[in-house]
């Protein structure tokens, strides 16, 4: 059965960003960081397809999704309110490798949605990741909270902030000086815009540090059935973002063709 999930809340959580909390039922069962759910942005035939969203967090009582308004579907999603029913299915796909001892987490923009879950999961499991969250400007940061030193936290885990215009935290790109940042790191978890992922993949390949990259592609089924969500594989052919991904070993991706 596909799931009809009740909305607990759907609140603004930044510039054009919303935090959607759902009653989890099976939707959240055993969900791991990096996995995603398919959410139908409105009942009916138009829009027809569900949209993929990373799982931002799961508790016993809720599953949350952090999303940005991009087009019609996400705009419609922002209209849901407490008590409404969302059609959904999940958890889906392959999440992050969470076995690194000293992982570096790189969240570009909305990449924070899935990596915040990874960071707090790692922390709960006794691993202290190095976590960097990059945004264009301070207003683009999604709602977190700050300790007395001005350190930014989201979902209980701390993040170093870097903004392109220096309006908060360091100034620059998340990919700046990445090779130095890799010192002592045994694995990188990255989620963000494609140019960022490509740059990270290149540095990680050079430094021979394993990289788990979370990819995006338009999806229809989310279940590995339609073959719509293909991304070029380094071995030729394609990977399915919804099945072999969304998080994939960067070495398996043909970044040139993506």
């Amino acid at each position: 059965m596909s799931l009809r999930v009740k909305v607990i809340s759907n609140q603004p959580a930044g510039e054009g960003v919303y935090l959607l909390e759902l009653e989890p039922h099976e939707l959240g069962r055993g969900a791991m960081p990096g996995q995603f759910v398919m959410l139908k942005p409105a009942p009916g035939r138009d829009p027809l397809l569900a949209r993929p969203f990373s799982i931002h967090g799961v508790t016993e009582n809720s599953l949350s999704v952090l999303y940005k308004i991009i087009g019609r579907g996400t705009a419609l999603l922002s209209g849901f309110s407490a008590g409404d029913i969302v059609e959904a299915w999940g958890p889906l796909g392959t999440g992050y490798n969470l076995d690194y001892r000293k992982p570096l987490l790189l969240a570009g923009g909305m990449g924070i949605a899935s990596l915040a879950f990874a960071a707090s999961y790692l922390q709960e499991n006794g691993v202290d990741p190095e976590s960097i969250y990059g945004a264009a400007t301070v207003r683009d940061l999604v709602e977190g909270y700050y300790d007395s030193d001005g350190r930014y936290f989201i979902s209980g885990a701390p993040w170093q902030i870097i903004t392109e215009d220096g309006t908060y935290g360091e100034t620059g790109l998340i990919t700046g000086g990445l090779d130095e940042k890799l010192a002592g790191i045994d694995g990188v978890l990255a989620c963000g815009p494609l140019p960022m992922l490509k740059a990270v993949a290149q540095v990680c390949a050079e430094k021979q540090v394993p990289l788990d990259a979370s990819l995006e592609a338009p999806m229809a089924c989310g279940l590995g059935a339609c073959l719509g969500c293909a991304v070029p594989a380094s071995q030729g052919g394609y990977l399915r973002v919804c099945k072999e991904g969304p998080v994939v070993d960067a070495g398996k991706v043909d970044w040139e063709r993506v």
């Binding site: 027809l48 229809a220 279940l223 339609c226 073959l227 719509g228 969500c229 293909a230």
Partner: protein
Amino acid sequence: MAVDIAGLLFSSPVIAASGTFGYGREYDDYLDLEKIGGFVTKGVSLEPRDGNQPPRIAETACGMLNAIGLANIGLEKFLADKLPLVEKTRARCVVNLYGESAEEFEKLAQALDARQGVDALELNVSCPNVKGGGMAFGQDAKAVYELTRVVRQKTSLPLWVKLTPNVADPVPMAKAAADAGADALSLINTILAMAIDARTRKPKLGNVYGGLSGPAIKPVGLRMVHQVSRAVDLPVVGMGGIMTGSDVAEYLLAGASAVQVGTASFSDPASCVRIADELAAFMKEQGIAEVRELIGGLLS
């Protein structure tokens, strides 16, 4: 709810359509395969195919485009890895065949003939006919006839020929398939179409053109099923945009003996079972005991 298609019994007239239901088990978490009549596999070719350059799908008004490019794992892997997974279910498994030449289709049919677990073959003639200059087999009645004929000789399995809507009139193609020995006709495949992103100025599909499916095309599917079922004395398996039990009833009334559900599975993975349940409820409400009371029952 059982229906007979050319001698093969399906426990329900609702069948999952090719290309939208993988190899039959991908939806297991969301529906019980045995509650529908069966499924049609993704098009299987002799050799594995990578498929088209992404993006491969785009949403349109009440529909979607796909240009998967018939990506599939190939005959060998299908037989080794996928067929065993469905063999033991009561659900029917119809294998959709894809070849680039008549010879490829022949070989596929031969290899699948009498394979345990394969209940019928569906010949996808909507693919480009490489030898015929790229025009699809399915747009040329002679090619449909020839292709059906050679495949017919290689298999004793029920043979369904799947027709394309990208023709002025589907009836000549349907007749050609019938004359060449098809047991049933499936229609419609997707409508050739295109989507453009006005801001990037690029086609939304890597392949530029793709196939339109979903509720948007239901009126075209109904019309073609109506045309074909009146003109040809073979069972028709109707499809195109089915989303509800009432949609199924409409296809049956238009002349279909069973239906396939494709794109609906993307808007809700439990669609096939939900639709079958809705059909049952509709029949109950209307006091209809047997599916065959609906088949071709359009009044005028």
